[in-house]
Symmetry: D2
Subunit: 336 residues, 4 copies
């Protein structure tokens, strides 16, 4: 069985997912595309040699009979309506981050999915599919290091463009950890605090960089997450889990060991896409397999909501300088 | 376009390739299978839910109209005839190691392919598709370390079964390096010598283990390859390329760094399949893509022949204790 | 010229320093010892074959004509009076931690030394003499990584005895970092905050373990220091300095790389003495050399005072749960 | 008790040893010096502030009443006569490499020492005192990795001066391993073979660089030692011991881990002196302690002889291209 997929939004990530489905993954084919820029949508069909219809808009694509599953890769503010429409149509939908631009929007989706009585939504938090994070989670779950007590994390980018503002450190950057760490620990957040170190000179005047996000979880785990988006030297994701019996660290990406010029060195990646490129393959293959088997796994609407609530608290903490509580509605049993 | 694939030999590797094509890779489907054990062939069809016909034998499968490309995964001594038949039928053929059980047999295939005037054969030397080896080759080719002068290599297995005999250190074990190092260096072998260290107590009486294979290439590179198949501690593949300006080492497989029990440690793999599992995906995807584009790359018949000749010289060197020359026929321009 | 040294307090550390001077270091000899346990003092003389007089008490030892320099290794609460007496006698004095048991006591020493008009006191903060910390400081001072912005540190012990209480995480454990980090950064502390992660089960009921000490410096550097004294796996000291252009990490102690039992591993030390044993040699050689050259360097009375004030603020922060300011008197120009 | 030491030859190494005794080590003082260049000898006395007499020649220095022990740091061809004279005088003598410039000369010393009936000679093979080599030996001796079967070693220098010729790869460079590996394995050599890889362009025309020395020991261990004296990137000493149960590697020198400029890197030393500077301290302290306790340990005359014989065989193998036997006289029970 081949899953017929419709792609809403054929910008960079949408085109890349279409390519992935066509050239790399098993079990799916792109049969429908749409974009606010119709020219762009047609270009993707041509470049990838797709046998796919170009729809006028997302709603028509969702409604199309031969579309089994939908990928939402459009502009963030449009996600909510397309995901809700897919749920209404009873079709599986893979939604790129964010699920919705507000926690309330995410909750609308949660409610619609619960009402539908079936998991239909997978959110594009690809880190859960990263081989390194999976090794780390397996090690924690196997009790190799005992109960986790502390996490020391870092999210570092070489540079960011001028339009990057202080709150984006949370909503664009730390958002990946806000999802991944909940999943890693099987835990939820209790509070958020932000402290500001001395700022790097390598930043725009308007930007507080670096920042440290201090998190407490419901189980009492303490997380410190350095967010440093002009660190210059590379794209570097660190996660060290300190448990009662030992410590497990997120693996470094595989790289050559070189001896040259009085240095023993390994390359550090500089482009985030290189770091997680394989996770995109795995997450989307998982989605397609879920569609085939009529049983979706992966990050859920609830996870999308939880990340949104956590991000809201962290942004509040950025501004208040205080410890801010993370307050969520009760978790529907549907998601447990 | 979907490539219709026929699989000859549905033992462990054949079934795994069929699963790969069906569940993991894009662009191909298994439409035909055969095995000397027909029950086994039918079992694979059932387990994987294939829509595939079970043929009485390899020749009938190769002849089948709807078969575009053939995978030869049967018993080694049968490879030659199936590959020759596929060439005769003008069909692409992916042949697991060895291409043929003698250098002469490989040469028959080389000649048939040259006569056919088109590359049809890809040999299953999967190491060339390993991400680590590709990084290493890229580094050499980019002249990061200048001209290679020496390679220090090791091929270590935790243990081998009782039926493993001394010559298998070459024909079953070192054979992977005999292909990969030619490719890595873009070079050919001049001579082989084998020296025998003190034997490990952890071996069968009949087996010389470890062994060191000393190779000289036509360009003058010196290679020492430790072959140690009862090393106890893990499946460990090492390759250190010493160049005029520096050294590049094959990456270690990605793994967690753990601090526990007074050790800072990384896991070492123990099963060779875990080490190269992803390379199998990549090599077969490359083959399918080659079929789609009517242009096969990857390890050629000539490479299969070269590995066979090198292995013959190394086995002779095991017995003679001398430096043995590696003598090949002239390389057809077809393969350059 | 040989420096004649008198040792006050011949317990474990006092005897070890006496051995060091006698058997390992150049330029000094132990000519006088004393201890509240006179038997113990005589035992050291005998065990080390010293030609040294045993004095009835520290004051008599300090007063002895042939004593050029004093080592204060007695019980903490006695340090202040002995150091003051040495200053009064115009003799060089090396004082083990703490310089005095209160910040006020340290300040008394500072004032006495300033009044004496000459640096006479060196405090036993041996980490500054650790080869790894020296490499780290040199790298920072060479501007390899630009201005430091954040430090991620950890101080981990495998276990502590029952008598270890929560405040000792600061005054016995973190005290080493409280000195070393000021020196490393050439900076002073602005505030202290303590957060408590989930407690490890591997602790005594009365003890909060682990703890995280969050520090802000006057230059705005943010330090997080994990203090985990029942971490089980080893004695492990980590210090990662994040600068504007890169990151420098305190080196791991030198150790064998082993491949064994499916692990690639390095040993982690479990005894803190093994970690800093060489630093003791270097610090004491530096003191002896300072005496010879009539010019003492190393950690000063002021550094002893600064560490005491910082520790007081951190202990207050342990109890208050708040961000506590670090308030010092003005630094005498004498120490700049 | 302070050992009164006379230094014959106050060139670079002689002056450095004199400084070491005076400023770093316990238990010894330099009371006599001599050099063919008397001006040089007087300069050392002055620079180090020694209270030492300058003798006209080595023989007079050896004969001096107040000289307890002798350091021979003069030109290689003079070593034999000075060591023999020290033995004749019944004085301890530390002799820098080589013990004598011929195996025969070494044997003369062995015979004289045996006749004297007491170990008086220590040879300056400082690697045995390197902390890393000591860790490695301890691991082997503790049977951590079972019986050693193979050693993969490398001795790499960034560059060598023009006067360095092919045989110096053995007699100046590999000589350190020729001693250290016998000691590490508690074994002796059976044969030597040299193979020549493609030569680096970064060498003088007259020099074969790199070279690989292949050694078999009496216990059957196989050693491959890469000698590469224009490797460009650093001074790099590698030793990997492959045993029946695992592998132990010589530790890398301690260094900072840096993240900078898209590299995760450690510095590699470029100056051999930095690599073994601490070993010089330890070996000489061991000699002084041996003098004090009237019981010398460390590398013996026999070790000096064994290294000379091994080097002779290796030089022969460089020229013959064959496997050359290593033939020693029977070991006097005196040295066992
Ligand atoms: Mg597909
Ligand atoms: Mg497929
Ligand atoms: Mg001394
Ligand atoms: Mg001395």
């Amino acid at each position: 069985m081949t899953i017929n997929i419709g792609v809403i939004g054929t910008g960079a990530i949408g085109e890349d997912h279409a390519r992935r489905i066509t050239q790399t993954l098993a079990g799916g084919q792109v049969v429908a595309v749409t974009d606010v820029n119709q020219e762009q949508a047609r270009g993707v069909v041509e470049r990838l040699g797709l046998q796919a219809e170009v729809y006028a808009n997302g709603m028509e694509l969702i409604a199309a009979d031969n579309v089994d599953a939908i990928l939402v890769c459009s502009w963030g503010p449009t996600h909510e309506e397309f995901v809700l429409a897919a749920i209404a149509a009873g079709k599986y939908v893979f939604c790129e981050k964010p699920l919705a631009v507000t926690a309330e929007g995410c909750l609308n989706i949660v409610k619609a999915e619960v009402a539908a009585g079936k998991r239909l939504v997978q959110v594009g938090f690809m880190r859960r599919y990263d081989k390194g994070y999976q090794m780390l989670k397996q090690s924690i779950d196997s009790n190799d290091i005992g109960a986790p007590l502390m996490l020391h994390c870092a999210h570092r980018n070489p540079t960011v463009p001028d339009r990057y503002v202080t709150s984006m450190a949370i909503v664009d950057t730390a958002i990946h950890e806000l999802d991944a760490l909940r999943w890693l620990l099987d835990d939820d957040y209790k509070s958020m605090q932000v402290v500001y170190p001395r700022r790097t000179k390598n930043r725009f005047e308007h930007l507080a960089d670096p920042q440290i996000l201090l998190i407490e979880t419901l189980k009492g785990v303490r997380i410190d997450l350095e967010i440093f988006v002009n660190c210059q030297y590379g794209y570097d994701i660190q996660c060290s889990v300190v448990g009662e019996e030992g410590i497990a660290n997120l693996p470094e990406p595989q790289s050559l060991q070189m001896r040259k010029g009085a240095k023993l060195s390994h390359e550090i990646l500089v482009d985030w896409k290189d770091r997680f490129i394989e996770s995109y393959d795995v997450e989307l293959q998982d989605f397609i397999r879920g569609c085939e088997q009529d049983s979706i796994g992966g990050p859920s609407s609830w996870d999308g909501y939880a990340a949104a609530v956590a991000a809201d608290a962290a942004v509040t903490a950025q501004e208040s300088g205080q410890v801010e509580p993370v307050v969520m509605v009760e978790r529907p049993s549907f998601y447990s």
